[in-house]
């Protein structure tokens, strides 16, 4: 099924939207979550949550690129879960889990400056990505967006691991340079 047809199913509130999404993008979302969480069970839960979030987001949203839209949700959910587990290890334990659950009930604190900063920062990242060659950009995104291992990236692109690392090293240096030039303090 074409992406726009799946989006129409969401807009029509048809429950068929979920299995169609799962069929086409389930594996993609699972792969993203699994790279972050390294756990089958957690990744599967993340993918299911992704469908729920997509259901809640469409309408009003009508994404142009459904794969990236779903991938982004899956990645955010997986990162949140990962942060939660990291906090647990530091001893925050159930508090972090509970706060996380409550977070969905309480409106986020209105922190406009941070939001503006994030938007500006995302814009800066877009300009940074646009400045890279297509290959270097793909390598950067595979590593830091998809959280793929160097080994996996090297295999997928037919490059040596040292070449991948060198490309990432240079891209990171360029990003640092850009952040400094623009006076961005993270």
């Amino acid at each position: 099924m074409e992406d726009h047809q799946i989006v129409e199913l969401y807009w029509a509130r048809s429950e068929r939207a979920i299995p169609e999404t799962a069929d086409k993008y389930g594996r993609y979302c699972y792969s993203i979550a699994c790279h972050i969480l390294h756990s089958r069970e957690d990744s599967e839960e993340c993918v299911n949550d992704t469908y729920l979030h997509a259901w809640n987001a469409m309408p009003p949203q009508r994404p142009d690129r459904l794969s990236a839209f779903l991938g982004r949700i899956a990645r955010n959910l997986a990162l949140n879960r990962w942060e939660m587990y990291s906090a647990e290890k530091r001893g925050a334990g159930q508090t972090a889990l509970a706060l996380n659950e409550l977070r969905e009930c309480v409106p986020a604190p209105d922190c406009t400056e941070r939001v503006v900063d994030d938007v500006a920062l995302a814009d800066l990242f877009n300009r940074f990505l646009a400045s890279l060659t297509p290959e270097n950009r793909r390598l950067f995104m595979r590593r830091y967006w998809y959280l793929s291992s160097i080994k996996e990236i090297a295999a997928d692109y037919g490059l040596s691991e040292s070449k991948v690392k060198m490309s990432l090293l240079r891209s990171r240096a360029r990003l640092k340079q850009l952040l400094e030039k623009e006076g961005v303090d993270l």
């Binding site: 594996r27 699994c34 990236a68 995302a122 990242f125 793909r138 967006w145 040596s160 691991e161 993270l186």
Partner: protein, 312 residues
């Protein structure tokens, strides 16, 4: 936290870039022919690049030889258009143990659709002709490994593993028992001081050691299932020092270079410079690199002329 913020905000970049880099969007997959690539490398210059040596996937345990599938077992297959022509065979109990795919009642885990990772290719040849054309996927729990995969036939899924050569197996066993961390772990490289690198030649694994006393070689031999595949060579510099030198050059020299690698056979670092040796820039880069390495021992550096530096 700052790193975390970059990771989080990066999530908001243009969808165009997300889609462009999606694993499924890559161009014609160029599979990483590990064994063939390494053997070829050994045949010419044997540059085992710095990162490759530390790449370990999955959990490895020692596996008795007799449990491994025998070569040429029927119903194996090779992937279509794969450069390395690896033969994949149905998973045996030994492999299942190694990959932690044994169920509680000691039978081999049966995969479902949920276990499918990224698409690897289709079956190109097999003694069982009904397998030809079937889809092959990575196993989701080992997304980076080409050594294990899932074959889909008529909605049924089966796990296959790549035939491993004894030398390759020995290398994997040594890395596993030394508990070498992946290259992106800050503790890398954590090889013992006696380890100077390794390369494949013919059917042998050549271990380069800074100490080839009986005590040391016996210690390495004890790590592998088949010590006969090991050959020992005495070298001067530990691999850790060579690898750290490549990092020092990359981070501190400021020199323009095309590539940096550890030359395991030469027990040296090889730097490719994008200039002719007659060019003044060649000598300048050499000087910058020598300066960066000053005070870090006498690591030999071999300079070669190698194309242009990549745009970034």
């Amino acid at each position: 936290m700052k790193k975390q913020r970059i990771l989080n905000v990066l999530g908001q970049v243009d969808e165009e870039y997300i889609q462009e880099a999606a694993p499924g969007e890559r161009q014609a997959r160029k599979k990483n022919p590990r064994w063939v690539k390494w053997a070829a490398a050994a045949a010419c210059l044997c540059l085992i690049v710095a990162g490759m040596i530390g790449a370990i996937d999955g959990v490895r345990q020692r596996v008795p030889q007799e449990e491994r599938p025998s070569p040429g077992i029927s119903q194996g297959f090779r992937l279509k258009d794969a450069e390395d022509r690896v033969l994949y065979s149905p998973i045996a109990v030994g492999d299942a143990t190694r990959y932690r795919l044994l169920t509680d009642n000691a039978s081999i885990y049966r995969p479902t659709e949920q276990d499918l990772g990224a698409f690897m290719g289709t079956v190109g040849s097999s003694e069982d002709t009904s397998l030809v054309g079937c889809s092959v996927y990575h196993l989701a729990r080992y997304p980076a490994s080409d050594a294990i995969c899932v074959l889909e036939r008529d909605g049924q899924y089966s796990i296959y593993v790549a035939e491993e050569e004894p030398a390759k197996l020995a290398y994997d066993e040594i890395l596993a028992l030394l508990e070498i961390v992946p290259t992106d772990d800050p503790r890398f490289p954590n090889y013992p001081e006696t380890y100077g690198g390794a390369y494949f030649e013919g059917e042998k694994l050549h271990l380069c050691l800074t100490d080839v006393s009986e005590e040391t070689t016996n210690a390495y031999a004890a790590m592998v299932s088949d010590p006969d595949v090991l050959e020992y060579e005495l070298v001067e510099h530990p691999y850790n020092d060579l690898y750290n030198a490549t990092m020092l050059i990359a981070r501190n020299s400021g020199a323009s270079f095309s590539s940096i690698a550890v030359d395991v056979r030469g027990n040296a670092v090889v730097v490719g410079l994008p200039f002719s040796p007659d060019d003044e820039a060649f000598a300048t880069a050499q000087q910058q690199i020598d300066d960066a390495l000053a005070g870090s021992g006498d690591i030999p550096v071999i300079y070669t002329e190698e194309g242009q530096a990549s745009p970034d």
